[in-house]
Symmetry: C2
Subunit: 333 residues, 2 copies
């Protein structure tokens, strides 16, 4: 039974500084009739990710700004509930970018079928989805660590960082996380198996990082930027590599400089920014590996789940402030 | 006729802030008797280079600090005046790192014979020496520009920058230099053939750079750092490459931050620091190309020559302040 209408969340206004709930507006939409080649998806989970903050601004970024009064961009996983598309049948589980919405009509162009019997649907938005691929790409294609090297990961308990560290451990690296608060740090070490985790809120980042990286740092997977990146660069070994995946630390307007750029020269570092959706040719390979590792329990993940689309703005604001623990999702059904 | 003594310049004290003449001390040394396997070189030219400033400090760098009371490190070109080494004969022209000294006894380990009939000896310290190789490596191995791309070079009239720009032009790039003052800029455009040159002293770096790079910037060859690097990063295209060769702008204690690190992510840039002496495997190939291009007039260079070892400290201080025009040398004979 397909409902006649669904809810969606649109961008009502662009944030000035911090994001507020008033930047969003919930709307009710009538489900349109399907045309040939279209299908209707009922989203089970919406993924909330830091990149969305960039889209909310009008400033130049690597992607077009989110248009005002349109459905907020967002990754989703759900099931096909009606189809006039030869490639999709009712009941298919599909991952896509259908936005902050309970349902969506699509031509299927960017939709990927997934195996709902192998892993929980939500995993395809996390460790076996875009965040997992970001971890896989940055670690394997930029840092490319050797056995015995030290890799440092910021936002270590998050959807990306948690996978980075576990993959690096599996490759024989010493892995040091940076996270906010003792609970996240305990999780990172005790459950994810990192060698150490620095609580940046403890106020002695440099000293703690030095103690945890006695042989220096060979690879930095950066999700935060600012003080954590500066501190890690100061511990870098010659020919270190920095995979620049995100700079969530600056979304609130914080200074997002690399204060001692001379370290890049002194240590002959390579710093590379990347966007994982520009490397789709590697997704089949990477996601297959990640699916195996998650299914076998070698890569673990944690989720923070908000319930209902109306809860998405607060959950997103919390994500930007680090209130989530692991992958931040919104359950829609 | 070999003299019985020669002069050398030692590091008398480490600079606190700016380098001063008092940091150096001239000494007279007796020429020692040669042992088997040794040779005596009379240096014709000493090369003055920004990297020497780093060596004068005790702070961690990519190389050991210059020891106090020892001959200042420096590249030299000269001729063999006595030899008990089977590989070198009196009259051989040799390039090496024999320091701020009129003569030196050496075992020849890091000495390279050059063809004094093909090019002026001094060229082997500039366009066909270490600065030329730094240009060659950073441009070809890090920036790797495609035809039609835009390359920006700071310190464009200098020993490294002038070669970078000319090589990039020969590879079909649009080349924009950054230099200090109208005379250097005129030289860069009129004699070296750059498409444009920005005078950073004119006080409107951002606007001038925007006007000179209508298609954005694909490659940055950075010799200075600070404001020029920030300005160039702000004009970067997606997937731009930054070869970080030097940060001479910070030697006087100036801020050496990358202020908007978010640009590295937004534009998916790669920033790579390098030291050309760590890539000796490429020198034969690179220097052979550079020698051909200089001999045929396709790569031009300019020199500023100080006379006599006693003049070296002032010449070096001038180099750090940008008073030189092209390669800074000290003529010793």
């Amino acid at each position: 039974m397909v409902p006649g209408s669904y809810q969606r969340m649109v961008l009502a206004s662009r944030p000035r500084g911090a994001v507020t709930p008033a930047n969003f507006r919930l709307e009710t939409v009538t489900v349109p009739a399907l045309q040939d080649g279209e299908l209707l998806v009922r989203n089970h989970y919406l993924s909330l990710d830091p990149y969305m903050r960039g889209r909310m601004s009008a400033a130049k970024s690597y992607a077009a700004s989110q248009a005002l009064d349109q459905t907020m961009i967002g990754g989703t996983v759900g099931e096909v509930v009606a189809s006039r598309h030869a490639g999709f049948a009712v009941g298919d589980a599909v991952v896509g970018v259908l936005g902050w919405a309970e349902m969506a009509v699509t031509d299927g162009a960017q939709l990927r079928k997934v195996d709902a019997s192998k892993l929980p649907l939500s995993a395809y938005l996390g460790a076996v989805g875009m965040p997992g691929m970001a971890a896989w790409y940055g670690l394997n294609r930029i840092i490319a660590p050797k056995v015995g090297e030290t890799v440092v990961v910021s936002a270590a308990s998050g959807a990306v960082g948690s996978v980075v560290g576990q993959l690096a451990r599996l490759q024989g690296c010493r892995v040091v996380g940076i996270a906010g608060g003792p609970a996240k740090c305990a999780y990172v070490v005790d459950e994810l198996g990192f060698d150490a985790c620095i609580d940046y809120k403890a106020g002695k980042l440099e000293a703690d990082l030095a103690a945890a990286t006695p042989d220096g740092i060979d690879g930095i997977f950066e999700n935060v930027g600012g003080a954590t990146l500066d501190a890690a660069l100061a511990r870098s070994n010659a020919f270190g590599r920095v995979a620049l995946c995100g700079l969530i630390g600056g979304f609130g307007g914080a200074d997002m400089a690399i204060h001692n750029a001379r370290l890049l020269l002194i240590n002959r570092l390579t710093v590379q920014g990347f966007i994982v959706t520009e490397h789709m040719d590697l997704w089949d390979q990477g996601l297959a590996q990640l699916a195996e590792l998650v299914a076998s329990g070698q890569v673990k993940y944690r989720e923070t789940v908000a319930h209902g689309l109306a809860a998405a703005p607060d959950a997103f604001i919390g994500l930007l402030q680090g209130f989530n623990f692991g992958k931040q999702l919104v359950k829609l059904i």
